[in-house]
């Protein structure tokens, strides 16, 4: 019975993935186009890959994007998790205040946050560059992490925590052993959203960065002036890299497990 019921749901998910990946496949196909067009495929070529590799600004932008995204994700996930846990135990006024403040960067048109931060950094006499870019990314990522974790914390059963204390755990051990595992899905989705936001941000990055520090989005937005399929080539490389990482992450543990089983059988 369970099998039968699973069919429509599987079909739904497959359709969902098809919807999500349709444009991605399109992007990949047009990275091999031999003209500049992004709407008409005129023939196969690797021209745009060559152009991309030759473009040192573009190659550097990959480096900055990845480094900023990873650091911003790690920092904002840690800070966000700690704050969310504290927040779940706070009085309602505090909860309300932080939630509303956190909504601001999500709610403001990006240009407003961007100009606000740019003016703020300059007012503090900070030189715009890598550090201000990173700082800005951490600033706008944390609210997303908190937002993702809060629902999970509200589902949490307080008794579990009390029980852990009764069984002799210190509060922080109880936190680590009981609460964190319970809210892990929230932490993961928070981290994923933070990474995505950082990776894809243009407007804020554009205004808080300094000379020579471009990210992929800057490349994309400024190349649109003259449509440049190198951007598609770049995207294709990203897709490829992600796929490889995914395969490693998902397949390697499976192989290990299989080996382990085999060894156990042998023993």
């Amino acid at each position: 019975m369970k099998r039968l019921k699973g069919l429509p749901s599987k079909l739904w998910l497959i359709l969902l993935l098809a919807f999500m990946y349709l444009p991605i496949i399109y992007v990949v196909i047009f990275s091999f186009n031999d003209s500049r067009s992004l709407t008409h495929f005129t023939g196969f070529s690797l021209e745009w890959y060559e152009k991309m590799l030759d473009n040192s600004t573009m190659m550097e932008s990959i480096y900055y994007t990845v480094v900023i995204a990873i650091i911003a994700t790690v920092v904002s996930t840690i800070v966000g998790t700690i704050t969310a846990i504290g927040l779940s135990k706070s009085r309602r006024a505090m909860k309300e205040t932080i939630t509303q403040i956190n909504n601001l960067p999500m709610l403001n048109p990006e240009i407003v946050t961007a100009i606000g931060l740019m003016l703020f950094f300059t007012a503090l006499n900070m030189r715009l560059g890598f550090m201000t870019l990173l700082l800005a990314h951490i600033i706008f990522c944390i609210p997303y992490v908190i937002l993702s974790i809060m629902p999970k914390l509200r589902q949490l059963d307080d008794n579990l925590f009390e029980a852990a204390l009764d069984l002799g755990c210190t509060p922080f051990k109880a936190l680590y052993k009981v609460i964190i595992p319970q809210i892990k899905p929230g932490i993961i989705s928070g981290a994923l959203i933070a990474f995505t936001m950082s990776f894809d941000d243009f407007v804020i990055s554009y205004f808080v960065t300094g000379p020579g520090i471009n990210n992929i989005s800057t490349m994309v937005y400024t190349s649109v002036k003259r449509i440049n399929p190198s951007v598609n080539a770049l995207s294709t490389i990203i897709v490829l890299a992600i796929t490889i990482i995914l395969v490693i992450v998902n397949i390697v543990p499976m192989i290990k497990e299989r080996k382990k089983k085999k060894n156990e059988e042998l023993a």
Binding site: R36, T39, N55, T57, P211, T222, S223, K225, R226, V252
Partner: protein, 359 residues
């Protein structure tokens, strides 16, 4: 998940190491007192090897940054970012001179001044090129499909052809208040730099009528692709983009209205007041004027070069853009104008433009 985190950390550290290695390209002292030049230019607006050749020749490194509009660039500079060379358009240069944001070019360094095309020099935004040295230039005109649009219609009606009901639903209007109002004002026979509110309101009515009768698509760069593949039959275009469209689709033609006149534009290199390395900036500007750099720029980007030799060679027989009328814009036509900077008009037009699109 843990594995993913580990991989992520390894990648970061690896990249961080690579990055650190890459940054240490200092070459010791030189006569300019700095080894890094910060250039801020339009996206897709430079030859493939220009930067690396300059770096090799002068033994310095260039931090190359990009912008996508004059105004975004201006906001960045105003926000306190230090660049050494910028490439704004005419009216923006005028504004920056007015606001005392630029420093004079050191003409003693610019030894290649005489290589410049006459038609690009001494324009009203900077009468004697004290602050700016031309980079690319061109006109704005109409790109149209000869198989659908009658060339005699375009040439006789000029800008008014955009409101010819025969071609309703077939046109791209340029999605920028400045360029659209230029078209309307020129069509009405006014100066595109008018400060007369009645004239501007008349232009507004002109655009509203266009919006209501022609159902235009408002686009900037999306129109390039659209015209190459015949999604629409006509569009307002910058000459450099038009040159590219013409080279991709032979049915396409370009016409820059002569009797009504059009916009003559110029993007030029300037040095902001807060530049860290003005000495090297002047050298860079001088380098861009050379035949090699100008040639590389124009071949890659497709806009008309400010270097006279390159410009003439490209359009002449046997040149890269032979017989492509959009590549060889005109610099001397009585009715053509250069944009000037006027803050009040800018605000007014901006608000009217929102209304046009909502009418």
């Amino acid at each position: 998940m843990k594995n993913l985190l580990k991989i992520a950390l390894v990648i970061t550290f690896a990249l961080a190491l690579v990055g650190c290695g890459g940054d240490n390209t200092s070459s010791g002292d030189n006569e300019y007192g700095c080894e890094v030049l910060n250039v801020y230019n339009w996206g897709e607006y430079i030859g493939e090897d220009v930067i690396s050749n300059f770096e090799d020749e002068f033994n310095v490194s260039v931090n190359y940054s990009l912008f996508d509009s004059n105004e975004a660039m201006y906001t960045k500079v105003l926000g306190g970012t230090h660049y050494d060379v910028l490439v704004p358009s005419d009216y923006m240069i005028e504004r920056m001179i007015d606001e005392d944001l630029l420093q004079p070019i050191d003409k003693s360094v610019i030894t290649n001044m005489d290589l410049l095309y006459e038609g690009t020099l001494n324009k009203p935004y900077d009468m004697d090129n004290t602050y700016s040295i031309p980079y690319f230039w061109g006109n704005v005109g109409i790109v149209y499909d000869k198989t659908i649009v009658d060339p005699s219609d375009v040439e006789s009606q000029e800008w008014e052809v955009l409101r010819n009901p025969k071609y309703a639903g077939q046109i791209y209007m340029y999605d920028s208040e400045r360029d659209s109002f230029m078209v309307a004002l020129k069509a009405l026979g006014y100066s595109m730099n008018t400060t007369n509110e009645d004239e501007i309101n008349e232009a507004y009515d002109w655009l509203v009528e266009l919006q209501q009768t022609m159902a235009p698509a408002y686009a900037t760069d999306e129109a390039i692709d659209g015209l190459i593949y015949g999604e629409k039959a006509m569009g307002v275009m910058y000459s450099g983009d038009a040159a590219y469209i013409l080279s991709e689709n032979e049915n396409m033609a370009f016409y820059a209205p002569e009797k009504m006149g059009t916009n003559y534009w110029n993007d030029a290199m300037v040095i902001p007041k807060n530049a860290d390395c003005p000495g090297l900036a002047n050298e860079f500007i001088n380098y861009i004027l050379t035949y090699e750099a100008s040639y590389d720029n124009t071949i890659t980007v497709g806009y008309a070069s400010a270097n006279a030799e390159v410009f003439e060679e490209m359009g002449a027989a046997g040149g890269y853009y032979e017989g492509n009328p959009a590549f060889t814009p005109r610099a001397q036509n009585e009715k053509d104008e250069v944009f000037s900077n006027n803050e009040e008009v800018r605000e007014l037009i901006s608000e009217l433009w929102i209304k046009v699109k909502n009418s």
